[in-house]
């Protein structure tokens, strides 16, 4: 127990140091922007990882909450002149609230039904974003969303948002760790029906599965909402095209890539996901000049297949595999 904690604190410290160091080593705003996207998707994926890896609930609808967060922030700041930070809080709360209400409907479903129900949420909200012109600005969305500012300092440069987003990520990571190894975390794991949990036993011990499914769904939505809010204040633009089907699939890939049931997995997965994608963008034109995209897409597909084949339990399982230890799951 003790040394588990110790290794965690050690890795957290290491993580924070790396995060702080990167901008000193990496100057290019392009790479910093990659860092920003990694951070944003890591936030969404953390929530999904709690939902999938711990409570065993699949969601193909995280983009909906990412979008809700983004639009709440955008609308409050643009139309009501609310302070961006306040807007961000509202964004998180409102995403969670929506998740709570919708969760009461969809979380009564399981497996594929849950998957398709959440996929439905993704499509429904995309349509709302694109169609509700008067509120969301339609397909062109809303440009010119105010930037965030701390004290007097206006956060304009990418590196500011890099630090901001990763600071949020760190806090939320710690929060998530605390949840995971608390009574709540155990309650979640106890209802993870296809990974060693048992809803029957959980109920017999006084745990109401529905309650915890909804709670963790709300939490994941709140994470996504915060990510969405950060995203629009950084880009100072919101368009529906950022919240389509793929935006729901990426976190699924990231979580599985990193490894379900590991919070670090979400972050590692996000990092690898974007670095590899951009790596392809950089390398493939060199290997095969004159190409545009299609080879990237192919490489990307193959890459997913290979990871699923050789690391079915994700990147976090690499150490175990190296140690030749059998991975459980």
């Amino acid at each position: 127990m003790g040394n588990i904690k110790r290794t965690r604190y050690a890795s957290l410290a290491l993580f924070v140091i790396i995060v702080i160091m990167i901008p000193f080593v990496v100057k290019s705003p392009y790479l910093i922007t990659i860092g920003i996207f990694i951070g944003l998707y890591a936030l969404i994926s953390l929530g999904l990882s709690l939902l999938m890896g711990y409570a065993g609930q699949v969601s193909m609808g995280q983009s909906a909450f990412y979008g809700i967060g983004a639009y709440v922030s955008a609308i409050l700041t643009m139309k009501c002149g609310v302070n961006p930070w306040l807007a961000m809080i509202f964004a998180a709360l409102f995403s969670a609230l929506m998740a709570g209400l919708l969760g009461m409907v969809v979380l009564r479903l399981e497996g594929h039904l849950l998957a398709v129900a959440t996929l439905a949420l993704c499509i429904v909200f995309y349509t709302i974003f694109a169609q509700w012109k008067s509120m969301t600005g339609g397909v062109d969305g809303m440009p010119g969303i105010p930037k965030l500012s701390i004290g007097g300092l206006m956060l304009t440069r990418d590196v500011h948002y890099y630090y901001l987003i990763w600071a949020f990520l760190t806090v939320i990571l710690v929060f998530s760790f605390n949840v995971v190894d608390s009574r709540v975390g155990r309650a979640l794991r106890s209802i993870h029906h296809f990974q060693g949990g048992s809803e029957m036993a959980a109920k017999s011990l006084g745990i109401s599965p529905m309650k915890y499914k909804i709670q963790v769904f709300m939490l994941s939505a709140a994470y996504a909402g915060i990510a969405g809010s950060l995203y629009v204040h950084w880009l100072s633009l919101v368009t529906p095209s950022s919240f389509g089907f793929l935006t729901s699939i990426y976190p699924l890939i990231i979580v599985t890539l990193g490894g379900q049931g590991s919070l670090w997995g979400a972050i590692i997965g996000a990092a690898v996901f974007f670095i590899v994608a951009e790596g392809f963008r950089a390398f493939i034109p060199i290997l095969k000049p004159g190409t545009s995209g299609e080879y990237e897409i192919l490489a990307w597909g193959l890459m997913i297949i290979l990871v699923m084949q050789f690391l079915p339990r994700g990147l976090v399982s690499i150490p175990d595999i190296l140690r030749g230890k059998k991975t459980k799951g």
Binding site: V179, S182, R183, R186, S190, G196, A201, S204, L205, S208
Partner: protein, 270 residues
């Protein structure tokens, strides 16, 4: 605290008359097949009541109806005089009914001690925010849950395996662990679903001791079993089920001399 005190005063007189659980003409039918047929019985405060019967006698169904996994098709069920017919399983557990399972339902995605800590769920309060922010209260609570769980493990001498996976335990120990987990909820009534199933004679001996110890701790026990050596050894009263209906009730001695029971079931034993 309340039920603590009640447990305390029930300690002085392990067996008194007041029923803790009362089942009134319970009925359960799956389609045409009748699983439980107009069954009525009482479980007295602090006693060990065994329900025996051949396989398919509806024993597990009965348990599932008592802790509300399955709705009863008819009848009434009172726990400490209150109807629990409409409550959710979690609510029933909160009232103080814990159970084990014929097919083990341990959480293989947690360590042994964590399994028992889940048992402490009802006795702790920290919500998602509180635990996430790790406010002093929840830290204290976590520590208490851990200590309590370790206490239970020590009682079942599972202390050594506290941090290993439940699946690494031998089958008998896994069953004990499930009992420990159920006890962690501090129940007033403990339902044991075939606890002796698949155990060696020696293990059954230890189990019998354990169950007695639990009862002496003031917890009423209702067990379903068809391993006679266990039942006859520890039960205060025995109820015999056959095809969902009660064909006999009484002390082990009376049961062993009950004609109908012998014909229906025990015959094979003698």
């Amino acid at each position: 605290m309340k039920q603590m005190s009640r447990v305390a005063d029930s300690k002085e007189s392990p067996i008194d008359g007041t029923p803790i659980l009362e089942v009134k003409d319970f009925h359960k039918a799956f389609g045409g097949l009748v699983a439980i047929n107009r069954l009525s019985f009482k479980v007295n405060q602090g006693e060990i009541l065994a329900i025996i019967g051949p396989n398919g006698a509806g024993k597990t169904t009965l348990f599932n109806m008592i802790n509300r996994f399955q709705p009863a098709s008819g009848g009434e069920i009172l726990f400490e005089g209150e109807s629990i017919k409409e409550l959710s399983p979690a609510h029933v557990a909160a009232l103080g009914i814990a159970r084990t399972f014929q097919i083990l339902q341990l959480f293989s995605n947690m360590s042994v001690v964590e399994n028992v800590m889940v048992g402490r769920h009802l006795r702790s309060r920290g919500g998602m925010l509180a635990t996430g922010l790790r406010i002093p209260f929840t830290r204290r609570e976590e520590r208490n849950m851990f200590d309590a769980a370790m206490g239970k493990l020590t009682m079942m001498d599972l202390k050594e395996e506290a941090f290993s996976s439940p699946l690494s335990l031998p089958y008998g120990r896994q069953k004990t662990l499930e009992i420990a987990r159920a006890l962690a909820t501090e129940p007033k009534l403990l339902l044991l679903d075939e606890p002796a199933g698949g155990l060696s004679t020696l293990e059954i001996e230890q189990l019998a001791q354990l169950i007695k110890r639990i009862r002496d701790g003031g917890i009423t026990i209702l067990l379903v079993e068809h391993r006679m050596e266990l039942v006859m050894g520890i039960a205060d009263r025995v109820i015999v089920l056959n095809y969902g209906s009660k064909i006999g009730e009484g002390t082990p001695a009376e049961i062993q001399s009950n004609e109908e029971v012998i014909n229906a079931y025990l015959g094979v034993e003698f």
